[in-house]
């Protein structure tokens, strides 16, 4: 963690870590699966020329076949195209929330870890937010504003911030007691340098692991919000929206729900496998406890 290690040593350590990353089974499976899902979602328009919004009254509720690999819904829209396109919003929400919540949570965690005055206030607020069930808080926030992708991202971010803040705060509190940090403070190291040199490197590993879990949790919450009708506006195909629209036709056309549901589950699974793997490698102490 210190720059006093010669560059060649650092390089060797990075190379060793990378070798371990690629050899880890969970990371290999999760990473490949996630890469495939990202690829088909981003390249949706290249893979299928069908417009996910194209209504075709003749081909209503068609079972999967050669022209419609995943079947069609009650308006004759192609479920294959809708599922592939639907991944975009989910992935966008997952990545944005992970980045936003990690950043905000880190700031709050650092502040409350170092300033005793702020600690009580910030942590009480976080406790209060955490006491409200995640999904309820998120639906309430989206439903009371206007359904849009941005509002979903903001709502889910607010829900996830306390977890990061607590994590970073606990790292800060442990680090502060370390002799080398006390020594650094004694010799007059300025706060920004202290944070950058000593606190952040220690918080980074658990933060990366936490961020992957936040991404998968955000994707799940987004789909639940859309499913309940309080998420992404219905005109945007997302996995949650497609499933929600298929509810009334479930008994005659189960494929409308099955395929987007499968993609959603696989995406969350891929990110979780990745997160578990990263935890094994980066944060062995926590990994051993689970």
């Amino acid at each position: 963690m210190s720059s006093s290690i010669p560059a060649s040593g650092t390089e060797r350590r990075v190379a060793r870590l990378l070798r371990r990353v690629f050899r880890h089974r969970g990371i290999a499976i999760g990473g490949t699966l996630l890469a495939a899902i990202v690829a088909v979602s981003l390249g949706a328009s290249l893979i299928t020329a069908v417009d996910p919004q194209d209504i075709d009254p003749v081909d209503r509720l068609m079972a999967p076949d050669a022209t419609h690999p995943f079947g069609t819904d009650n308006l004759g829209r192609d479920i294959f195209a809708r599922t592939l396109h639907g991944g975009r919003v989910s992935l966008l929400v997952g990545v944005s929330v992970a980045v936003l919540a990690s950043t905000l949570g880190t700031l709050l965690g650092l502040v409350s870890g170092f300033l005793r005055v702020a600690d009580a206030i910030v942590m009480r607020a976080m406790d209060g937010l955490m006491a409200i069930p995640t999904i309820l808080l998120a639906i309430a926030m989206v439903a009371l504003t206007k359904p849009s992708v941005l509002n979903v991202i903001l709502a889910v971010t607010l829900v996830e911030v306390p977890r990061v803040a607590r994590l970073v705060r606990s790292v800060v509190l442990t680090i502060r007691e370390q002799p080398y940090v006390e020594a650094a403070i004694t010799v007059g190291t300025k706060l920004p340098k202290l944070l950058l040199r000593h606190v952040l490197p220690n918080a980074l590993a658990p933060l990366i692991v936490q961020a992957t879990y936040i991404a998968s949790s955000a994707i799940l919450i987004e789909s639940l919000l859309s499913f309940l009708g309080a998420g992404t506006p219905p005109e945007i195909p997302t996995w949650g929206n497609v499933v929600a629209e298929g509810r009334n036709y479930f008994q005659v056309a189960s494929w409308i729900i099955f395929f987007p549901g499968l993609f959603l589950g696989l995406t969350v699974l891929a990110i979780n496998l990745l997160g578990d793997g990263l935890r094994d490698l980066l944060d062995p102490q926590t990994a051993r406890r689970l």
Partner: protein, 313 residues
């Protein structure tokens, strides 16, 4: 001990205060005019203004907050904008299915998860352990509504063993009740089961590696007794914690599960209220759910002392 209980009870007050503040502010900031909604389409501006005055909507933030908190402390959660029924009555009407579903889910999850976790720890690294871990990862990743529909498809549509949707009260007979909550409990409990199984396995592995287990083995204690009497008893704290903490997970899942299975519980009430923007109901339900969550955390903390008498506060 008594001092600890008091201290711990007192600690819940600021948390609930923050919850109340968040819930109130959320709805204060929400767009739309509840007075216009209550008055209906035919109302004149004067009528809307009268309702606004009656509901104190014309007052500033702190006055409304104060009035709202005061009525809250009297146990008054307000009146539904949509149905004009007191929120507390609405909540009481919807309580039974949600509580019933939560309890059956907990029973299903714990009876599945504990043996799975214990066997996995006992046979750590073998195929049964790998299977349990795979199940745990899958259980975490499966969205509640997708699992719900998959179960309906298999057990209700293809096999025709169980009803597709709906809820039968316990008062209508035990068997119809069980049949109606079987699939919802499985769907809702999957993530919860995975969570408990995983923590059980981890804490059992830790306990089984300790010296006293080797001593017990050397003494000739049977494997079952070893697991159940020695290891499980010492692993009880993390397991209890996760069973408690996980109930919070169920609370979120209940909202979705009730939607999938058309169960008229608190979750349905919440979703309907949100879609209709019935503010007092939304506030009331969120407060109740958050209160339950805080209460569960409190019980879990107090149970520590019961499980481990060494813990003294």
């Amino acid at each position: 001990m008594g001092a600890y209980v008091l201290h711990r009870l007192a600690a819940t007050i600021p948390v609930m205060a923050v919850v109340a503040l968040v819930v109130f502010s959320l709805l204060y900031l929400a767009p739309g005019d509840p007075a216009a909604v209550i008055a209906g389409d035919q109302a004149t501006q004067a009528e809307i203004d009268a309702i606004r005055r009656k509901l104190m909507l014309d007052q500033p933030y702190h006055v409304r907050l104060g009035a709202w908190l005061a009525s809250l402390l009297r146990g008054d959660l307000g009146v539904s904008i949509f149905s004009n029924i007191p929120v507390s009555t609405l909540i009481k009407q919807r309580l039974e299915p949600t509580i019933a579903l939560t309890i059956t889910t907990m029973i299903v999850a714990i009876t599945l998860a504990l043996p799975l976790g214990i066997i996995a720890a006992w046979r750590a690294g073998r195929w049964i352990d790998q299977f349990v871990m795979l199940f745990a990862v899958l259980g975490f990743s499966a969205p509640v509504f997708v699992v719900g529909y998959a179960l309906i498809w298999l057990f209700a549509i293809e096999l025709r063993w169980l009803p597709v949707q709906g809820y039968r009260s316990y008062a209508e007979g035990f068997v119809p009740f069980l049949r109606s909550v079987a699939l919802p409990s499985l769907a809702l409990g999957l993530t919860y089961t995975a969570l408990i199984a995983r923590i059980t396995r981890a804490s059992m592995i830790e306990e089984l590696s300790k010296d006293y287990i080797r001593t017990a083995r050397a003494k000739g204690v049977g494997e079952f007794r070893l697991l159940e009497r020695h290891a499980l008893k010492n692993a009880a704290i993390p397991i209890t914690t996760i069973i408690g903490v996980g109930v919070a997970l169920l609370i979120g899942g209940v909202v979705v599960t009730e939607s999938v299975f058309a169960i008229p519980g608190l979750g349905r009430l919440t979703v309907d209220a949100i879609l209709r923007r019935d503010y007092p109901v939304i506030q009331g339900v969120i407060l109740v759910f958050a209160g339950v969550k805080v209460l569960i955390n409190l019980i879990v903390d107090l149970l520590y002392v019961v499980f481990d008498p060494r813990i003294r506060y």
